[in-house]
Symmetry: C2
Subunit: 289 residues, 2 copies
Amino acid sequence: MVSLEKVSSNRVSAGFLTKYKFPSKSLNGLTTSFNVFIPDSAKSNKVPVLFYLAGLTCTEDTAAQKGGLFNEAGKQSIALVFPDTSPRGANVQGEDDDWQLGTGAGFYLTATSEKWKAYNMYDLIVKELPEVLKEANLGLDFSRWSITGHSMGGHGALSIYLKNPGFFKSASAFAPVCNPSRTPWGINAFTNYLNVPAPSSENAQPPKEWLEYDSSYLLKNYSGDVNILIDVGKGDDFYKKGQLEPKAISDQNKKGVEVRLHDDFDHSYYFISTFSPEHVAFHAKHLNA
Amino acid sequence: MVSLEKVSSNRVSAGFLTKYKFPSKSLNGLTTSFNVFIPDSAKSNKVPVLFYLAGLTCTEDTAAQKGGLFNEAGKQSIALVFPDTSPRGANVQGEDDDWQLGTGAGFYLTATSEKWKAYNMYDLIVKELPEVLKEANLGLDFSRWSITGHSMGGHGALSIYLKNPGFFKSASAFAPVCNPSRTPWGINAFTNYLNVPAPSSENAQPPKEWLEYDSSYLLKNYSGDVNILIDVGKGDDFYKKGQLEPKAISDQNKKGVEVRLHDDFDHSYYFISTFSPEHVAFHAKHLNA
């Protein structure tokens, strides 16, 4: 049994937000922190769980402080889990030099490069953290589990959802990286963490190791029903620069997938906090169905 | 006419949050920044205005990022104005050494000490900023104006409201400093900014210059009707340490004053963001009456 150390606790909405840390097996023994919001109602009946995966440069605190998720989560009796975005202190050469790779930029995958061997946020989120939370007996019901995220974390939420049929009731994302095997942040992450080089031509099919983490590819090959909500701001510079490519998902016209483009909104938490209550309500509908 | 320089603009809720800066006469010519949220509806009809005064160490960005005010303000068609908490760069000796005095700690008064002569946040907020905003023709209706704030900013909101009968429709505060002439932050601020020494005995009547900024004293001597809402968390360390003293207000049992104490909540923005939609709705009721 993992020793979960309480770092802090704050009353918020109709529950408590508590920060814990623990040494993570997935991250080669490095200590990782996460925040969990547990509504009071969990004391009498287990509550469903929504994971929030944050974007580049963020931590487990960013969306807790700026995301505006708690009042709706409290009202809907849903627990929220905010993991960190990467290992911390892995001592990989250069890991703190570039905000797009290394610390704060784990990309929610399982690294296969020897150099980045601690970078296994996928394993942490899909396997270890749910186990740790179940063992801690906090009143969370992982048979009702959904996932959301922003930007890199939107990629994380969608790809983790699509790679694990039956695990989650629903997925949503704010300004997600939808087609990482063909866009710069993804190519950079896959080239390094997976140690699989880019194809010689831009038009060539990306390597299969990359496609395993590409939500638009995963969706294309997904056979079951899906419940996906995606919001993107048209004023988002990363959208304009082709980092997000929601068309790669919306053009598939899949049943159960809603992609909404919003005039003027940018990539910031002002965008997220505008729509986050709707996302919590979207998940509540599926978690409580 | 003041030259208002746009620093940034973000779409949020049903409007835009814009940061401006300008050289402030009140602050001896120092440049000050503020954020203003203007709902889209201001384009067709002028909208009422709610000022938010932040607490010690904060800036014009803190509540904009963490306060959770925008969705309700957008829904209610209310503009929000977030001033800074002190002058910046006044070059007073020691102003950056103590988070409780100087930079980030302007205490919303008009300094009468020669040393702190730029520290005139009261004048900025009550007189200059409304004038600057009116001149800029942004669609704000200052005949419908209310004020709120947190901690030091809660003191600011309540004292400014009570010192200016007829200016504001309503005031509210999160964990405000209610009796600053008898509690440490206030005594420290008044002693320094007003250059009026503390009385020789703790039980003596505080100096009249101090009482002019003491909300509990101002309320006692207020003759008109008031609309005041105050929320305080019982888990707030500053409440427990006697910095806030809401009893000095609630014990007066004044009509139109509601003081609510909440189990477990602390001094953080988790507390504020839980109740901020209710505060916006409280002000909306009075602004749109």
